[in-house]
Amino acid sequence: MEIIRFVIDFLSFYTIYLMLSISLNLEYGYAGISNFGKVLFFAGGAFTVGSMATRLTILLFQGRWIDIEEYINTDVILGTKVSLFFAQHPLYGIFIFLFLLVLAMSISALLGYIASYPAIRLREDYLGMTLVVSGELLRNIAKNYQPLVCGTFGVYVPNPFSWATGIFRDLLILFILLIFSSGTWLIMEYLLNSPFGRLLKAMRDNEKVVESYGRDIVKLRIKTLMLGSAIAGLAGGLYAFYTGSVNPDDFTATKTFLVWVIVIIGGAGNNLGAAVGALFYVFIDRLIAYYKHWICLPFDINYMSYIILSIILILVIFYSPQGLFPEKPARTPVIEKLRRGKQIKSIKMQEQE
């Protein structure tokens, strides 16, 4: 039984980190935008769900607006009631779930749009600092401004699938997470193996030239940041629903750097790399989380996964600086066709020689 729990838990976390790494890979690996504020957009999605799930449901289906005092003091009771309500009305639960995910994506995309303002004007290092600070700023606001997600101790998130019970519920949620993450994966594969993906890489390699050839790099960067942020927002929203609570201190800059390390280990500019990098991290992290009382260490066991990840990072940078799966040219159907043709040609040429 425990092994099943572990697998469910591992895969669920994996889907979230997969989405985050894909979104950073889009921005950094493809478009060359150093987004050091990934957690900001992740938190944007999670806070959207956390702050609205209970209140919106009660407002929509019971016509009652929860005032701030009541929300802060009794969020767990209210949220539990909403979960019970969803148990009787599964469709309402699914509606709230989908609606809030769309909202989470939109709000994060909006944050991405705002972040593109400095992204277009600042040098890379200043942009990095600005975004790190913005993420910390949002976290501190959430921590200290209780009407958002109830402050320091966080907010309870009702379970929209509470009509399902036991392991079946966990499997159902995992299934939904898998659909969202593989959907994201597929869409991004199509998107990046197209003239759009190629243009992003060209912009990364030399934006001056891309501009000389008629492309508006300002617009291109805005689009990229909005899309990447929407994906991170989706991941954040799903994360909030999956864990059943949103706690501001879960959204430190460390999350951002984790995703960076994942992308660099895996290989920037290659989603397969991002997927494998995320696999490494989540597996180590979950393994340690599950078996930590079996291991005895002279320091906090929770740092163990960072230590292992750093060692992998150092090894990768030494032995394969482009990551485990280095970038490849865009695989559009036309290029694939040409490549097959070329192979035939060069084989023939060798035969003649």
């Binding site: 060209a202 390699d205 001056k208 891309v210 000389s212 040409l338």
Partner: protein
């Protein structure tokens, strides 16, 4: 002579105390090859940068036909039918040679997020045509055998050729070339210039070519402007330009 496709009028550009361009007025008649010569530091690259929108001039005007394009951003100037090559080649290093061409084509379907996802059939069909055209251009510039190589791995000379290939791919009305044959062996340099002639004759493309190597390029061009210290010091036909005393002095002095 034909009407002017490109015209600068008293363009001035300063960098701090340096006057890189002073009252530079040049004309590029349609379907002609105009050459710009001058010693190092005389302002040739700056003029190309100002025309193509990389820099805004401090004063003066730039016209395409009769349209004032002064101060527009590079991507808008490109839309007027102007493409340029860079003196130091700037390939998209991680893209293949073929992709370097595909990415700069005009009106690429599938370059927007929505069309790349929802108009797949259309952009794939377009890309087939573009790839064919790109392959033809690669044949012209002798890079076809390297089409699937990363551009960052090309030799310096090959990168120069790729610069030209990209400019051709973008279907321009006029190409501004910054030292297209510098550092290229004489045989290839002559081939490049032959191609320039052919493109002018077959596709009616006009050229403004900045070049040091008078020995090779002069015989292919129609008009020559000579610059020195940010000013135009002479304009004449290629056979007469060197006999201008100011030009000879600039070259000997600079």
């Amino acid at each position: 002579m034909n009407e002017n496709i490109l015209r600068t009028f008293k363009v001035t550009k300063r960098f701090g105390g340096i006057i890189a361009l002073q009252d530079v007025s040049i004309n590029v008649p349609k379907e002609s090859i105009v050459m710009l010569i001058g010693p190092n530091g005389s302002g040739k690259t700056t003029l190309i940068n100002v025309i193509s929108g990389q820099y805004k001039p401090d004063s003066g005007k730039i016209y395409v036909y009769d349209k004032d394009i002064t101060g527009l951003s590079p991507h808008k100037i490109y839309k007027m039918g102007i493409s340029r090559t860079f003196q130091i080649p700037l390939p998209f290093r991680k893209l293949t040679v073929l992709e370097n061409l595909l990415v700069v084509a005009r009106n690429v379907e599938g370059e927007k997020i929505t069309s790349s996802l929802f108009k797949r059939k259309k952009w794939i069909k377009d890309e087939e045509e573009l790839a064919e055209k790109a392959m033809e251009i690669l044949e012209i510039i002798n890079l076809d055998h390297l089409w699937d190589n990363e551009a960052g791995n090309l030799s310096g000379g090959q990168m120069k050729l790729l610069e030209i290939g990209r400019a051709l791919m973008s279907d321009p009305e006029i190409i501004l070339m910054d030292e297209p044959v510098a550092g290229v062996n004489p045989k290839l340099a002559n081939e490049i210039m032959e191609h320039v002639l052919a493109l002018r004759d077959e596709y009616s493309i006009s050229f403004l070519i900045v070049e040091h190597r008078l020995d090779i390029v002069l015989k292919y061009v129609d008009i020559v402007y000579a610059m020195h210290n940010g000013r135009v010091i002479a304009v004449d036909s290629p056979d007469k330009i060197i006999s201008h005393p100011a030009v000879a002095a600039a070259y000997l002095g600079g």
